[in-house]
């Protein structure tokens, strides 16, 4: 079986409001950039996979087919995937499976969503709530910020995680976003600034939250043989391989999950997905063997809880390790050098793929010196849907 290579990536600006186009327009921009980066002619592409969370938010059903048409990729096949916030990760895993199975030799992986100001925040909240339990929990007034806040409250009670530790994630991700021209919230802020921002749902404050944004991202994946034949960049760039993919699911309602583990404070599906990906990539000690990671940061605390699920540390140790600088630039495992969902922005279908674009650039050594991790060889992407009811972990490796 042929190995899967990651040939190129592109992003169409993540912003609070993009009146300049539709999600389809942004996907076209991101695709053109990814194809140029890959040194690949679009007419050579075999297949596409299109990731977007919601027809209602996009105001378009079957956007996959529309994208194929607008890009001029007909009559080639296309598949649409959807997994809430984990949609982009599901697209990566789908592409891996399609290429490894021989269904195609090259794939354009694209994702977008429109959750910026074109859509009223109340509508976004309502549509997101539809991705959890509808008849019991949404009907009782439940919504995702409350679910995540409740999970972090439980984590703080169990382990003594502090609001200062949460704030530190926000400071890091907003600062990393300063070096990302496609990010929507680049900011040099302090822990005090975060703690002074208004409470949304305790313990989360305004600056603890990912930013609802418009935008798109694209990657070009292929077999090694196809790459050698069709990519002008193949001989000039470090080669990046897709070496690990894991995915898992969890009961949707937090109250249905077994106790004490995962209980309210832990992401069990993410832990399962990570184990699967590590096994495939032959990684035994993630912090020592990985050089860079993009980790789900729907809220600051989600990033901390994800460190634990991904095996970067034991449960309860994420806050102290963050304070030691382990996940900062220059630390053992820099996390969210793109700015993450907090600094770069969070159009659900785009995020998981944008993570891949960031890891690809890191592994090629192409990021600005302010955020480039030295000699980065292995990078991880972690994204989930629901309150990690669906998790995907992907691992890329640079081998030259």
């Amino acid at each position: 079986m042929e190995r899967v290579v990651v040939l190129g990536g592109g992003i169409s600006k993540f912003a609070r409001q993009r009146l300049d186009g539709s999600p389809v327009d942004w996907i076209v921009e991101a695709s053109m950039r990814a194809l140029e980066d890959a040194g690949v002619d679009i007419s050579a592409i075999d297949h596409s996979v299109v990731a977007y969370e919601s027809e209602i938010l996009a105001r378009q059903v079957t956007m996959g087919q529309v994208v194929q048409d607008v890009l001029g990729l007909t009559p080639k096949p296309s598949i649409r995937v959807e997994a809430g916030g984990g949609t982009g990760g599901a697209a990566l895993r789908t592409a891996y499976a399609y290429i490894r199975s021989g269904l195609c030799n090259s794939m354009l992986v694209v994702g977008a969503d429109a959750v910026g100001r074109q859509v009223p925040a109340s509508t976004v909240r309502e549509v997101y709530a539809l991705s959890g339990d509808v008849d019991f929990e949404m009907a009782a007034g439940g919504f995702f910020t409350a679910y995540y806040a409740l999970m972090m409250d439980a984590h703080m009670r169990q382990y003594g995680t502090t609001k200062e530790q949460l704030a530190r994630v926000s400071v890091k991700n907003h600062r990393n976003a300063i070096s990302n021209p496609f990010a929507c919230m680049p900011m040099a802020i302090t822990i005090e600034d975060v703690l002074d921002s208004p409470v949304v749902v305790s313990p989360y404050r305004k600056f603890d939250c990912a930013i609802l944004a418009d935008g798109a991202a694209a990657l070009v994946l292929a077999t090694e043989r196809w790459a050698r034949e069709h990519s002008l960049a193949w001989k000039k760039r470090p080669h990046v391989y897709f070496i690990g993919s894991g995915s898992a699911t969890e009961r949707v309602r937090l109250g249905d999950r077994p106790q004490p583990y995962p209980g309210y404070a832990h992401f069990r599906a993410k832990q399962e997905a990570a184990k699967m990906a590590y096994k495939m990539a032959d990684i035994k000690n993630p912090v020592a063997e990985l050089d860079v990671a993009e980790v789900a940061d729907t809220f600051t605390g989600v990033e901390l809880q994800s460190y634990e699920a991904l095996g970067f540390c034991d449960p309860g140790q994420s806050g102290p390790l963050l304070e030691e600088g382990v996940f900062d630039l220059g630390g053992d495992l820099p996390v969210n050098t793109s700015g993450g969902m907090i600094g770069q922005g969070a159009p659900p279908g785009g995020v998981g793929i944008a993570q891949g674009v960031e890891i690809l650039s890191q592994l090629r050594g192409e990021r600005p010196s302010t955020v480039q991790v030295k000699n980065a060889r292995k990078g991880l992407m972690d994204i989930h849907g629901g309150t990690s009811s669906y998790a995907v972990v992907s691992i890329f490796s640079q081998e030259d």
Binding site: L19, E126, F136, G141, F143, A146, D153, A154
Partner: protein, 173 residues
């Protein structure tokens, strides 16, 4: 000129990447029209196989489901036991339990105003294996909400929109 009723504005946008017009490959596509685009959805929504739970709320009864194999009582009810994949039976639960986790928001989905904060709490009713999410109301000002706190079901005396509004939790003092 004829009028377009839903037209909100006609604007010139810049490249979102800050590229000047002379280098912008999309320069010919930067004149934008923004319209009002109302979409309304109103469904005839079946509450499905678990409808009995919602119907019995009108009789002030809380129904869970019980697995014939492991005898676990699931609340919220489930059609199948997720551990044994067996079809469950209905079973009634009492109205007392323990708060396990909660959050306090300044708004809730569908709430009209943010005047009062909304407490969403997972409560494990006595006998149940799982916890049910519902609003916790009428907490005395001097009472700290904490996991482990005993709570009870309180029933609405006024008409409601949705069956889940027929009850809520209050501290069981």
């Amino acid at each position: 000129m004829v009028k377009v009723e839903r037209k909100l504005e006609e604007i010139m946008v810049e490249s979102p990447d800050g590229i000047g017009a002379s280098d912008d490959e999309w320069a010919a596509f930067r004149r934008i029209e923004v319209i009002d685009f109302p979409l309304t959805f109103d469904f005839r929504h079946s509450l499905g196989k678990l409808s009995r739970f919602f119907l019995e709320l009108e009789n002030q009864r809380l129904m869970g489901t019980c697995c014939p194999v492991c005898h676990s009582i699931w609340l919220p009810p489930r059609t199948l036991c997720p551990d044994h994949h067996a079809v469950n039976d209905w079973v009634e639960l009492g109205g007392q339990g323990v708060l396990e986790a909660f959050s306090i928001s300044s708004y809730a989905l569908g709430a009209d105003s943010a005047d009062e904060s909304v407490v969403l709490a997972y409560v494990k009713l006595h006998g149940a294996k799982t916890a049910l999410l519902q609003q916790l109301r009428n907490v005395p000002r001097d009472k700290q909400i904490e996991p482990g706190m005993p709570v009870k079901v309180v029933w609405s005396k006024i008409d409601v929109q949705h069956p889940m509004q027929l009850f809520w939790f209050e501290p069981d003092i």
